[in-house]
């Protein structure tokens, strides 16, 4: 336990010191990894613990992003940057989850997919969300008197949020609630029979994951200064899914590793060759075939067994 805390603190320290030693580009890559890492971790809570594979997680990423974009243009504070996007995404997840958790397996995939595509279609068409071009020129917020316009201050702010998210998720999956979720993943009928209100647990997991995805979407807007309807598109959910699988399903840390692998692959490979999608696809296929436990599973020497 103490070793873990020390390791966590050391990692946080290294990441915090990162901008002092590296240039702008590596820092931006790291920030992108961290933001997508939050998104992927929130999906892992659903997939890896509750056993609900969603292809519509982009809905909440997009809602968080769009709400943050609209709110930050109005007033650039913590309420706009964090509270409103999280609330909006959580509310949307509550509603979408209410309908989606009635079905499972491929039907759950399809229904969540359809919901996220609805948002895509809507954002793509309406003028007040900038239609195809999305929203641009979003200012970064000022939080507790600190402007986040500079890369370094944004970096610290991001790290604090990532650490808080990681700790919260770590606590959640080890709580009795987390154990119930795992029980549902393993045998839903039995959990029902034992007396758990399975649907209520699933809905709570879905809402929590959606809220966190909304935060990731908001951070993405703050990082990028813009958002397009593509945030809603189903391939955005697919990318998060790729990250979770490559990193290791049901491990949380794996989602962050997967995010790093995905973004490094994308940026490094694309400097050498245009064929990064091909390499990404192949990597993913090889992982599904030979290392379904992802990077974490392989590191633990448990290739072939779901963590």
């Amino acid at each position: 336990m103490i070793a873990r805390i020390v390791a966590f603190a050391a990692l946080a320290g290294v990441l915090a010191a990162f901008p002092s030693f590296f240039g702008n580009y590596p820092v931006k890559l790291l920030q992108e990894i961290l933001i997508w890492g939050i998104f992927a971790m929130s999906l892992d809570l659903l997939m890896g613990y509750a056993g609900m594979v969603s292809f519509g997680h982009s809905a909440f990423f997009g809602i968080g992003g769009y709400v943050a974009a609209l709110a930050l243009k109005h007033s650039a504070g913590a309420v706009s940057a964090l509270l409103l996007p999280a609330l909006a995404a959580g509310l949307a997840a509550l509603v979408i989850g209410f309908f989606s958790i009635r079905v499972s397996g491929v039907y759950f995939i399809m229904l969540t997919l359809a919901f996220s595509q609805m948002f895509y279609a809507y954002a793509f068409q309406v003028a007040w969300l900038g239609a195809e071009d999305g929203l641009v020129g979003i200012p970064r917020p000022t939080i507790v008197g600190m402007s986040l316009a500079s890369t370094k201050s944004f970096h610290l702010y991001l790290l604090v949020l990532v650490a808080a998210t990681a700790l919260a998720l770590w606590r959640i999956v080890r709580s009795p609630f987390g154990h119930v979720l795992r029980g549902i993943r393993e045998n839903e009928a039995r959990m029902e029979a034992v007396g758990y209100a399975v649907n209520r647990y699933k809905l709570l997991a879905f809402t929590l994951a959606g809220t966190l995805a909304g935060c990731a979407g908001s951070l993405y807007v703050q990082f990028n200064g813009s958002i397009t309807p593509d945030a809603f598109f189903w391939t955005t959910s697919g990318e998060a899914l790729l990250m979770v699988i490559i990193g290791g399903v049901g491990t949380l840390g794996g989602a962050m590793l997967g995010s790093a692998a995905f973004i490094l692959l994308q940026s490094l490979v694309s400097t050498y060759t245009e064929r990064w999608m091909l390499i990404l696809g192949l990597t993913f296929i090889l992982f599904v075939l030979f290392a379904p436990g992802g990077i974490v599973g392989a590191l633990r020497g448990r290739v072939g067994i779901r963590a």
């Binding site: 079905v103 491929v106 039907y107 399809m110 359809a114 391939t235 790729l242 696809g281 599904v288 075939l289």
Partner: protein
Amino acid sequence: MPTLADLFAQALNGLSYGALLFLLSVGLTLIFGMLDVVNLAHGSFYMLGAYAGLTVIAATGSFWVALLAAPLLVGAVGALVERTCLRPLYRRPALDQVLLTFGFIYLFEDLVKWIWGGRIRSIPPPDLFSGSVKLYGATIPSYRLFVIGFGLAMAVALWLLIERTRLGAIIRAGVFDAEMTGGLGINIQRVFTAVFAFGAALGGLSGVIAGPIQSAYPSMGVGILIPALIVVVVGGLGSLKGSLAGSLIIGQAETFGKAWLPDAAMLIIYVVMALVMLVRPQGLLGRPLK
């Protein structure tokens, strides 16, 4: 007010789009019914079909040769995918197979960009159907009429194949209970490969058919996958008739939506799907959920 001729033209447009969706979704639904795999790479087979068709037309000058050769090529690719990558996964949770097919989307899209480049490439309709005809005061491109006729003919042919032949009986048995069918002495592994290849070929075929209407471009597969999935879900996963019914409904909903409610056009098919799933989760003609 739209005139009667407009309505008629719209309905025919919707019918031709529906016919295309049917060709595409029937492969998806066959594969799901047999293998329990939602093949997310089905749109990629559609795209591969369009590009293979493009090359065959360039080489032979004939649309009809392409209509035959491209599905064969795509079917071969499908067989390869099933034998090498899907087969080892049948013992794993069904979702692993879905995820695997997701990886192939990236692979195929980039391969197509590599081989054919990223530009939009138009595919000319066959000479026989390059003009247009006047029907009840509406001008209809004759190629669209061909697509409707071809879709109907394929629906009949597939129905005969599934309901009236020995091979069809094996497929129906496999859809009902693959393990039991294997136990009766049918080489079920080979049937799996054949059905996957056949489904892929149908995807390729619809790609060639779509070519003259929508052209060929690398992201066409990702774009068409969602309507095809919606058709399958609305009609009922694994149901041939459901696929037909779903295609006709979605085809009309999309076309009339574009004409009458342009602001909500893209939303309509999702609303239709969500409504069907809430009222009848197994789809209009699907087997009840377990």
